[in-house]
Symmetry: C2
Subunit: 374 residues, 2 copies
């Protein structure tokens, strides 16, 4: 019996062969149902066929329902658009968009304006405070904070977002019904209230080492940028950073004392020009897309009110009076912002359609008043 696409994707996830180049390429090219059917029909000598035959999609559906999760597949309204960039990305031996995604918690918002914050489990007080404050600042302006629920930096990032009632998503390596590590169960519970715990492994699955690596690619793909706060030389954060670079996401790193081992990976990434040094939330904000400014393909609605813009953009926009054409220096005086900040804000506002350049080289309000942003 041929499975429907959704069930086939569920079954493929249960194989646990995450980010495997050959399998994911096959699925993208031939479709999940055909690939699953072909897998089942392989001979007894095939390990994958034996594993596939042991998978019971009905059982997975029951477990999904039991833990209050839902299963998303590409094309679903709630499917995170950023994951589609994984189709062609490759780091190490891994590649590919996940076959599907289990989500527990609130409906996923558009995550492309969000930010991933990752780092060492064995973080210092310094690093945890930095992650906490960064996450709080960015979540407070409406950005979703994505991390991996690990101890240390990941936990601090989730907590920072929660501390301002912001949105946060935990991408975990095992099933969404058993967030890992167990010591973070209470944190996971808090995240589930307004945010979400997500995984490409079905409920009930234990995290494996390949699953941790595969999970890193999801964290890097979901948002517009990734910040590494603290990480020693050997650290999963380097893998996440490699994914962010590969995916063309903004890779950022927070420096720290050179005397701390946890500064090594951030410093390495900065020194080699892979990551941009960020020292405060403002730096991160300047590097990420303005909220709502997402690529065309990811726009799902329009008519965003002015007050959903970042404060700096909003201030500059509101300082322009109807009918006038005005320069950055005047706007700097009106807003109290630096001229360079005004110029940068005007550039962004221009791209978003909130302002347009006038005939005399200044800026004015556009004729049409509702810009095309999601």
């Amino acid at each position: 019996m041929m499975l429907d696409e959704r069930t086939a994707r569920m079954a493929l996830c249960a194989l646990g062969h995450l980010g495997a180049p050959k399998l994911t390429r096959l699925v993208e090219e031939e479709g999940p149902a055909d690939v699953w059917q072909a897998l089942l029909q392989r001979g007894e000598e095939s390990m994958w066929a034996r594993r596939a035959r042991a998978i019971d999609p009905a059982q997975i559906e029951r477990e999904t329902a039991r833990c209050g999760a839902r299963f998303l597949i590409p094309g679903d309204e709630e499917w995170p658009a950023g994951l589609d960039d994984l189709i062609t990305a490759e780091v190490g031996e891994q590649t590919g968009r996940p076959f599907g995604l289990w989500v527990r918690g609130a409906p996923l918002p558009d995550l492309t304006g969000g930010v991933a914050i990752v780092g060492a489990r064995a973080a210092t007080h310094y690093g945890q405070n930095v992650a906490l404050e960064l996450a709080a600042d960015l979540a407070a302006e409406g950005r979703s904070v994505v991390s991996g629920l690990a101890y240390g930096i990941d936990s601090a990032a989730h907590r920072g977002a929660l501390s301002v009632s912001g949105h946060t998503v935990a991408a975990v390596a095992g099933g969404v019904d058993r967030p890992y590590p167990v010591g973070n169960l209470a944190l996971a519970g808090m995240i589930l209230r307004d945010g979400a715990v997500i995984s490409e492994l079905p409920p009930g699955h234990q995290p494996t080492r390949p699953a941790f690596l595969a999970r890193n690619r999801l964290i890097a793909a979901l948002t517009g940028g990734l910040v590494v706060v603290e990480a020693a030389l050997r650290s999963g954060a380097r893998n996440s950073a490699a994914w962010a670079s590969e995916l063309g996401r903004v890779l950022m790193a927070v420096p720290g004392p050179i005397t701390a081992a946890t500064s090594q990976t951030p410093h390495l990434l900065i020194r080699d020009g892979q990551a941009v040094l960020v020292a405060e939330a403002r730096d991160v904000r300047e590097l990420l897309s303005p909220l709502g400014a997402v690529p065309d393909s990811r726009r799902r609605d329009d008519a965003t009110p002015l007050d959903r813009l970042p404060a700096e953009l909003r201030d500059v926009r509101e300082a322009i009076r109807a009918g006038e054409e005005v320069g950055a220096a005047v706007l700097a005086a009106r807003t109290g912002l630096a001229v360079t900040a005004c110029l940068s804000a005007l550039g962004e506002l221009g791209e978003l359609g909130w302002v347009e350049q006038g005939d005399e080289g200044g800026w004015r309000l556009p004729g049409r008043c509702v810009p095309q942003v999601s």
Copy 2:
């Protein structure tokens, strides 16, 4: 009576009009004696003429002798070659090679392989330890450490060099007979034993604010690279950094906790791509010229033994056997270094003439065995 060039330069220095674009351009174009003569002959209404007529070169010579200093001018054997790059450099309102240089202490060695280390007076324990260790590491391999004798980072840099009996030079803003600040007199005394205190103002002169800025250009020009260890946003170190960039020196900065104001300038320089992040002496070493590898114009002797090369270069050179042509991967295996490190070492060794590229794309020992390095 027309002064000779040396005395005219001495008198010009005593004017205290340091780094002044117009005057220094005149001196480079028309020669110090003519410029001095013309200055004296200006009318009574000229402030500069009045100042010039009050200067007594014989008196300056006596004071120079009294404090055991000597006066260098361009072309002298001991004249630091790096200062000549100042002729065409300009930062802010300042430009120009100093008219001359007072030196107290031991004869100046070739400083082009040296390193300048500068930073905040109000440095943290972290910053001072970093400066101390960096200076000690670099001085221990024979690099001269140049700084400004200020409290904080400067003092730590000098002390680091002294702690390994290394060479250090203090460029001060006032006369070399009265190193500023007074609290660092004992440190200046230690520096004078094997190193030197230098200034472009005559003995007896007090440092002025323009003199501090002018001094920064000397610190940046003397060596091959400048490291900013700690500096708040408003700091003389930014001026030194601007000079280093303008002069094409390697500009480096040590990161620190983002929670410290003293990290602001290093982080700014790194983020904006002006400075390279350095986290240990090894990073600095890789960015500076190998010791002895100075541009042609600065070579004063030749036939440097292999063991004066930095360890990494030496190791790679010694791993190449006579008669063979070999690739970086093989050398990496033989030396235990990374392939990228081997490639970078081979590039440097090639430039120095220690190795040459073979017909098959590998590297081999050159026919002639003594490369042309000073």
